[in-house]
């Protein structure tokens, strides 16, 4: 992925999050405090404002700048979590103008480790990790098995959506949804949903090959 593609990915994420603002907030109202879409949209709008100044920067700087914008504007749990994820992913490609497949695997892994460390959550807690961890594993395994980027993307998204469905079946153990106990079963996790949306956007931009 080139630097321009990375910028395009981030720009598309800001658009898609805006489009899904109400959807994410509705999901959050069902089991949380009803602000996930509002908060993420505020954060990515701040990221969008920075994009123009990043056109000639390296991939690490782009991601780190996006991370700082998210950390300082989103708030809630999703601000530190997505901010940390972007920060950790950015550190992998500091100074680089191109992201290789190996880089992408490392970035994905680091981002997840960052989220785990910050959120002290694990898979099965009904969080974004239920989407991100299986998606990462599918992505990594696909390349180890010599699949094309296209096929790996397909498998990664498949695993992500499966993880998202899985969040409907389990009890929330983190975030405000966990106060509901069993009442959280049947509801899809908002954070897992936004993670899915972001992964799909990355795949869509890469598929267009712009």
């Amino acid at each position: 992925m080139t630097r321009d593609q990375l910028l395009k990915v981030i720009e598309e994420i800001t658009i898609v999050i805006e489009e899904n603002k109400v959807h994410l907030t509705d999901l959050d109202q069902a089991i949380g405090d009803g602000d996930h879409g509002i908060n993420l949209n505020r954060g990515f709008r701040a990221v969008k404002e920075k994009l123009e100044s990043l056109r000639d920067k390296d991939c690490g700087t782009i991601l780190k700048t996006a991370a700082m914008s998210l950390i300082s504007t989103v708030g809630g749990a999703s601000g530190p979590l997505y901010g940390t994820a972007f920060m950790k992913a950015g550190a992998v490609v500091a100074g680089k103008e191109y992201i290789s497949v190996e880089d992408s695997i490392k970035m994905f892994d680091e981002a997840i480790q960052g989220i785990i460390a910050r959120g002290k959550a694990s898979r099965g807690d009904k969080t974004m990790l239920d989407v991100l961890v299986p998606a990462f594993e599918a992505w990594k395994v696909a390349f180890e098995e010599g699949e094309s980027t296209e096929k790996a993307s397909e498998k990664m998204l498949g695993a992500a959506y499966q993880g998202l469905e899985y969040t409907k079946t389990i009890i929330a153990k983190k975030g405000r949804a966990n106060y509901l106990g069993e009442r959280s079963i049947g509801h899809q996790d908002p954070g897992a949903t936004s993670s899915c949306i972001i992964l799909k956007t990355i795949v869509d931009v890469m598929a267009k090959g712009e």
């Binding site: 907030t25 109202q29 089991i31 949380g32 405090d33 009803g34 602000d35 509002i38 908060n39 505020r42 950390i71 300082s72 504007t73 989103v74 708030g75 809630g76 749990a77 999703s78 601000g79 530190p80 979590l81 910050r118 959120g119 153990k173 983190k174 975030g175 405000r176 966990n178 106060y179 509901l180 106990g181 009442r183």
Partner: protein
């Protein structure tokens, strides 16, 4: 949505401007940040207290900034934890050289953002300690989950740890007193109506005319269960029983906080207090001090919570100490 606002995205800033205009003798706003600090701060040589969280809980927390309570309050977006940079600015602004205690309510987001701010302060060699308030007995306490929420009982921590800091205790001591207060305070709430986050534009849940939500927090999140509405005495009995099941209050003296969630008249809060007092009297628990009013609200939600703090001599003395803030004054 029917609210007296100009723009949903501007509510926090415009509210803070209004607070500063109303109480310039108590608070000022840090330029460029949604942070209120004491007008005459920082206080040299005193441990400073910073609290905060999402907005929508007024007068918490900005209303408790002043002598004997907080030094700074950070206001996030409505029901959303403030960001680390905002908390860090508050820490820098209030540090009088003796360190800063962060009073955090137990929510995943609040803890992460305050932790990141503490890491930033650490890098600048500002001494920071933190305590996490988790007084809500409606929520199961488990190592594997987020644990209990922090709700209205937090105001007791502001008051008591604030008095400890004002008395000249060092950071470790102020933290110890705050933790003792947390260990001895329990709360539980209920609501009759949902509330509407301005940026969401619609209520967080729906309740029929004859329903109430029991065991809910202060963010319009659903509670532990829904029930048919009952009399004030029955509602109050349920809340108090849940609290008394949790720690042994027998033979002790307690402080009470009958807290309105924003849309409940004082009349109803006093009716509840009447019942709380009689239940405690029957059980031989002595009420040392009672606070009734809107201390930790949930926007316009109709409902209330009861908090009971078990006291010892040290907590009594600190609870009695003078305080002078926009929302709580005790001479």
């Amino acid at each position: 949505m029917k609210k007296i606002i100009n723009h949903p995205e501007a509510v926090v800033e415009e509210m803070l401007e209004g607070v500063v205009k109303a109480h310039p003798q108590y608070v000022r706003k840090l330029e460029g940040f949604n942070v209120l600090v004491r007008a005459n701060g920082p206080v040299n040589g005193k441990v400073a207290l910073v609290s905060g969280g999402g907005s929508g809980h007024e007068p918490s927390h900005g209303g408790f900034v002043g002598r004997g309570m907080l030094d700074g309050a950070v206001a996030g977006a409505v029901f959303t934890s403030p960001t680390p940079d905002q908390v860090f600015e508050a820490v820098k602004a209030v540090d009088g050289g003796a360190g800063v205690l962060l009073v955090i309510k137990n929510y995943t987001g609040d803890i992460m953002n305050f932790e990141m701010a503490a890491e930033m302060a650490d890098m600048e060699s500002i001494k920071v300690a933190s305590v996490v308030v988790n007084d809500d007995v409606a929520v199961e306490n488990s190592t594997w989950t987020t644990g209990r929420r922090g709700i209205a009982g937090t105001v007791f921590i502001h008051k008591i740890a604030g008095a400890a800091a004002e008395k000249g205790m060092d950071l470790d001591e102020v933290k110890r007193v705050a933790e003792k207060t947390i260990a001895n305070v329990r709360s539980m709430g209920m609501s009759l109506t949902p509330c509407t986050v301005p940026a969401a534009g619609k209520p967080s849940f729906e309740l029929a005319e004859n329903e109430m939500e029991v065991g809910l927090g202060i963010h319009g999140e659903p509670g532990t269960h829904r029930d048919e509405i009952k009399t004030a005495d029955e509602i109050t009995t349920h809340l108090v029983e849940k609290i008394l099941e949790d720690i042994d209050y027998s033979q002790s003296e307690v402080a009470l906080l009958i807290n309105g969630l924003g849309g409940t008249p004082l009349m109803e809060l006093y009716i509840m207090n009447r019942k709380v007092s009689s239940i405690l009297a029957e059980k031989g628990i002595k009420v040392y001090k009672t606070l009734v009013g809107n201390f930790m609200t949930s926007l316009e939600m109709a409902g209330a919570s009861v908090s009971i703090l078990k006291l010892d001599e040290e907590l009594k003395e600190l609870l009695d100490a003078t305080a002078d803030t926009p929302a709580f004054t005790q001479l």
